[in-house]
């Protein structure tokens, strides 16, 4: 039995090696073919505009437009398209960070390249969008906070938050919780640990407030104020703006006709750009919050089933982006996946099609094989404990993924978009890598079968 389990594990390892290797080759081919191409995302147009004006709102971070400006400046000296510099920055930063995150994992290089070449990840390394840079930096923040390195954790938190504002919240939760954990655990230097952590956090907050004062102006991008009530409005009320209008307050009906509300209900972004803007212009931000909450409450009461189904569907898709988008590349999901895929394949349609079909489907085969490999390893005598530190880190990654899935699910209806959850795609891949990592205390013949 012991020999056959060992043999099975070796076979699994070799199979994974081949499948992952094939994906890496395909992914590198895709990168090389698209390094000088441009994906036409709507958000990119907005980022370019912000890089000119240096004025943003609560929805978009200022750091990426600054990077765009820098890239444009460099491109004026060295005539390569400015976005190529951004791609290179994103690829190098992403590679280094993921390689760092996998330091306790086996076969770091191969698994780093594998994670980088997952389609829902790689697409955004070659896009003028902040997600590909912000996601690994956020993971780095969690990593450093876990290791009580408050300065580096704080820097990563600051960088990721300035790229994508809600990342302040995600990273901040981990920062504060880890600080408290380490403060409690560290009996000898409790004050020192807490003091250092709080100091870094305070300085970070000051920097954020200072930057926001200079660069953030509400309504500058034509969107409503970003508040919890606005999120609930977007999540619970859209697309029922017109067909539930009978229940709206007079304040709403004084501003909008049923036809206007029908227009808002047509496209999800009109909640922020039309409905919210107008309500806040007429009634002010504070009163508007009460109106939004009223509408959200009414709609939730009347359309509970429909809303719940929508929330669960979006949460499922966010939690398992590689399954619900690619799912055998079947036509699943009510999301922006079609648009994203169209952008991805625009310049190299045949290569992208084959790459996405293979990589999307093989992800789950790799995951299951890795899981099997890990479980069989546990069954082997001697391979019991170990990887404790890695396991604890992975738990934090899982919590981060859940926070992201909940946040993006609840922030809007009709705008499910896998580029918001690159962290979750990376998280799933890191879980597979975790299963492949043998216990530190175990030395079996399998250890000789490393990838590289």
């Amino acid at each position: 039995m012991k020999i056959s389990v060992k043999k099975i594990r070796i076979v699994l390892l070799h199979t994974l090696r081949l499948l992952i290797g094939l994906q890496i080759i395909w992914g590198i081919a895709w990168i090389v073919a698209n390094l000088k191409n441009f994906q036409n995302f709507k958000e990119t147009t907005e980022l370019l505009a912000i890089s000119d004006s240096m004025l943003t709102d609560e929805y978009v971070g200022i750091l990426y437009p600054v990077l765009i400006k820098a890239a444009v400046f460099i491109a004026s000296w060295i005539p390569i398209p400015y976005y190529c510099y951004l791609y290179l920055l994103q690829l190098i930063a992403g590679f280094c960070i993921i390689y760092k995150l996998l330091e306790k994992f086996t076969d770091r290089l191969l698994l780093t390249l594998w994670i980088m070449t997952i389609p829902t990840v790689i697409q955004f390394y070659l896009a003028v969008l902040p997600q590909a840079l912000a996601a690994p930096i956020l993971l780095l923040c969690v990593y450093y906070c876990y290791r009580a390195d408050w300065l580096k954790g704080g820097l990563a938190l600051l960088a990721s938050g300035l790229l994508i504002p809600e990342y302040f919240l995600f990273g901040g939760i981990f920062y504060v919780v880890e600080l408290l954990i380490h403060t409690v655990k560290n009996k000898e230097e409790r004050k020192k640990v807490f003091g250092k952590g709080i100091l870094v956090l305070l300085i970070g907050c000051l920097i954020v407030v200072g930057v926001a004062n200079v660069t953030v102006e509400r309504y500058s991008r034509g969107r409503m104020a970003r508040t919890p009530a606005a999120m609930l409005l977007h999540r619970l009320v859209w697309p029922n703006f017109s067909n539930t209008s009978y229940f709206w307050s007079q304040e709403v009906m004084d501003v909008f006709t049923v036809d206007d509300l029908f227009e808002v209900a047509t496209y999800p972004d009109r909640v922020a750009t039309q409905f919210g803007m107008e309500i806040e212009r007429v009634y002010g931000v504070e009163k508007a919050q009460g109106i939004y909450l009223g509408m959200a409450g009414v709609t939730m009461r009347i359309r509970t089933r429909e809303i719940t189904d929508g929330i669960l569907a979006d949460f499922w898709q966010y939690s398992v982006p590689m399954l619900t988008y690619f799912g055998g590349t079947k036509e699943m999901g009510a999301s922006f996946a079609g648009w994203n895929y169209q952008c991805m394949k625009q310049n190299t349609p045949l290569l992208t099609k084959s790459y996405v079909i293979y990589s999307g489907n093989v992800f789950w085969i790799i995951f299951i094989c890795a899981l099997l490999y890990g479980l069989l390893g546990k069954a082997e005598k001697g391979a019991v404990k170990g990887q404790a530190e890695t396991r604890r880190f992975m738990k934090r990654i899982i919590v981060l993924c859940m926070i992201q899935a909940v946040w993006y699910t609840m922030s809007a209806a009709g705008m499910q978009d896998y580029k918001n959850v690159i962290v979750i795609s990376i998280g799933w891949a890191m879980a597979a890598a975790f299963f492949l990592t043998p216990a530190e205390s175990v030395k079996t013949e399998n250890e000789n079968c490393h990838f590289i």
Partner: protein, 315 residues
């Protein structure tokens, strides 16, 4: 050499000896590489599972495929140009029109949640050429889920059916676009960039080249849009008298299609100038000024059938 059947005593170069040598060598070789061999087979199987469906999907053959807008698409079962054409020709005809769609694909009016953008001729031509309808399928799901007003009931099924067509076996691809490009005010053409897919002419050129490259034996027929009149604020305007912002008169779109057909050596059926549908006959052939009545559909179908038969006679 003793040959008593005992394997110990089998000679080196006898038949049995050679067989035993070969078997030993193979066993020794296999023992060292068995895990790799099994792994390669498993990996190959996994790759097949991942990509195999693309090669073994059931494909359907049609003789004629019609692409277009509501003139082709918005009809009842058993009616419409496709159905009448099928009767006339006695061949299989696929109705691939999507109401409200244009030939051109304009970046500035396309959004992740807009259904129509993925159904423009430009995008459909790409899907046909690369046999990749995934963006359209996902977009139809989106439209269905959120009851998009751009979405009509037949879109989802039509895209799924179109994705199963074996275009290598299709003989004629008929493209009928222009009315919505005119209505929306898409530019007729872009003199500075003939492949600007945001203009009607550029969209036609781009689509024709894509499809011709993918299916060199497929015969393309451009069908110019039919004459129409429009209702604006309760007043009737003919398509000869009003041009919408950025665009031209409907006749300009028709003329553009004719020019492009000549340039590319593809067939053109000029319904705008030669079908007989005009101001005097609009009552008979147009149901609402824009869409064809059953008589109008029959007229166009008969013309197309005659046209196709003429092509075949000449060839």
């Amino acid at each position: 050499m003793i040959n008593d059947g005992n394997s110990q005593n089998v000679g080196k170069y006898t038949e049995k000896g050679l067989q035993k040598m070969g078997k030993d060598w193979f066993q020794k070789w296999f023992k060292g590489k068995s895990t790799w061999i099994i792994s390669v087979l498993l990996a190959a199987f996994a790759v097949f599972l991942c990509v195999g469906e693309q090669f073994f999907m059931d494909k359907v053959a049609y003789d004629v495929v019609l692409l277009g807008d509501s003139i082709i698409g918005n009809v009842n079962v058993g009616e419409g140009i496709a159905a009448y054409l099928q009767e006339d020709l006695g061949r299989t005809v696929f109705k691939g029109g999507f109401g409200g769609t244009t030939a051109a694909y304009r970046e500035e009016t396309s959004y992740p949640y807009s259904v129509g953008s993925q159904l423009s001729l430009v995008r459909i031509a790409e899907a046909i050429a690369y046999q990749d309808f995934l963006p359209q399928k996902i977009q139809m799901n989106y439209g269905d889920a959120y009851k998009s007003k751009e979405m009509l009931g037949y879109f989802n099924g039509c895209i799924k059916d179109m994705s199963r067509i074996d275009f290598h076996q299709v003989k004629y691809l008929v493209i009928e676009h222009g009315t919505n490009d005119y209505n929306i005010g898409n530019p007729v053409d872009n003199e500075e960039n003939l492949y600007d897919t945001g203009a009607y002419g550029g969209a036609l050129r781009y689509s024709i080249e894509l499809i011709k490259e993918a299916y060199p034996n497929l015969k393309i027929i451009l069908m110019t849009p039919t004459w129409c009149w429009l209702n604006q604020n309760g007043e009737k305007f003919s398509c000869d008298s009003i041009a919408f912002k950025g665009g031209g008169l409907l006749e300009e779109y028709a003329d553009c299609a004719i020019e492009i057909a000549k340039d590319y050596g593809v067939y053109v059926l000029d319904n705008f100038h030669e079908s007989g549908i005009g101001p005097d006959t609009s009552e008979k052939y147009l149901a609402d000024g824009l869409h064809l009545s059953p008589e109008g559909q029959k007229l166009v179908a008969d013309r197309l059938a005659f046209f196709i038969n003429e092509i075949e006679d000449k060839n």
